[in-house]
Symmetry: C2
Subunit: 215 residues, 2 copies
Amino acid sequence: MCDSYLEGEINMTPIVSYEHREERKLLILQAAKEVFINKGFNATTIQDIINHSGVSRGGVYTYFQNTEDIFIELLKRRDLKDALDLESLYHDGATSLQVLTLVLAQIEEAIEGQKDSLVPVIYEYYFTTGWGTKKHLLMLEKRIEQAHKSLVQILEKGVADNEFRPELPIEDIASTILTFSDGIYVNSFHLGPEKVKLKSQFAAFRHYLSSVLGV
Amino acid sequence: MCDSYLEGEINMTPIVSYEHREERKLLILQAAKEVFINKGFNATTIQDIINHSGVSRGGVYTYFQNTEDIFIELLKRRDLKDALDLESLYHDGATSLQVLTLVLAQIEEAIEGQKDSLVPVIYEYYFTTGWGTKKHLLMLEKRIEQAHKSLVQILEKGVADNEFRPELPIEDIASTILTFSDGIYVNSFHLGPEKVKLKSQFAAFRHYLSSVLGV
């Protein structure tokens, strides 16, 4: 009874469609992203985001409590976009070696391009505010788990199809792929892809994988 | 003649011995390190360091212009301490495989221990102030070059002694060792050594190296 009373209350508030809410959120998030890239995470205030988005203070606070909330929401949406789509990678009968090679090439390309200017801001957040609040950790773990799971699936399929004869547990092989990618990502971020010799390092790592997978 | 006149001038200023200067610097640096660990890089002011070190304002400004100067000096001294001492590693006739294994074990141990509480502050600096001023970049490059050079020397000696028969250029093998170490360092820093499965990842990486070095 209490529940239905509350439901009644909620139903009396103006109905704002999901699409409209999502649109407003996107407007705020897009403006926030631009401000974050310009000023960095810690120097950005809610007022900056209000000014840049053109959404009222009340409007912004309807969806977010503070700049960290907004930033975390930006990160969540990035992760969804970045997830590997295995089904499309295996389209028209690619082998697991081809898929694995393609995934590595995509990582190499993403590092070489370094187009995403939010990355320095993400690192700034990780090592300042996030280091204290730990609000991003669960998401970071999920992102790593998800990528790890996709790599394990590729390796498992390769084993099932008799393409790979791994000399080590495939979970460990998948972990080293992520570790290598993160290492070259961070170093390339600071020193640039040429100084870290991106191409020859990826070639060497592909050699390690071919060898441990027996291909 | 002009030179000797200047020399005369310098000799007339009070003589402060190198040891005394070094002692004062160390006092400031040690105090600064404690403040940085407590407050983070950006929140620390020169006044904090003056208060905590007990050295006068004039005294601190004799050696350093600002907190970034002090921080960079701390980093420089860390690097000197961290450099690999190949001569002592090869003492009483160790093989190159033993030395390489020892170096990897030391890296693994350092990551597992994570005792150095200045590390979060270093990352904070890299991705905020340092990201703007780039004052640390030359030092970071030198540190990587130095570590790379030491690894190449170990691999070269192993080849000369017929221990290693590398399937790839040893420069590239050395680079991947650094990349892997940095990747696992960063991930372990955020998620802890257990979640990143430090031990099995290092085991896998040693396997890759054995294979590419033909041992």
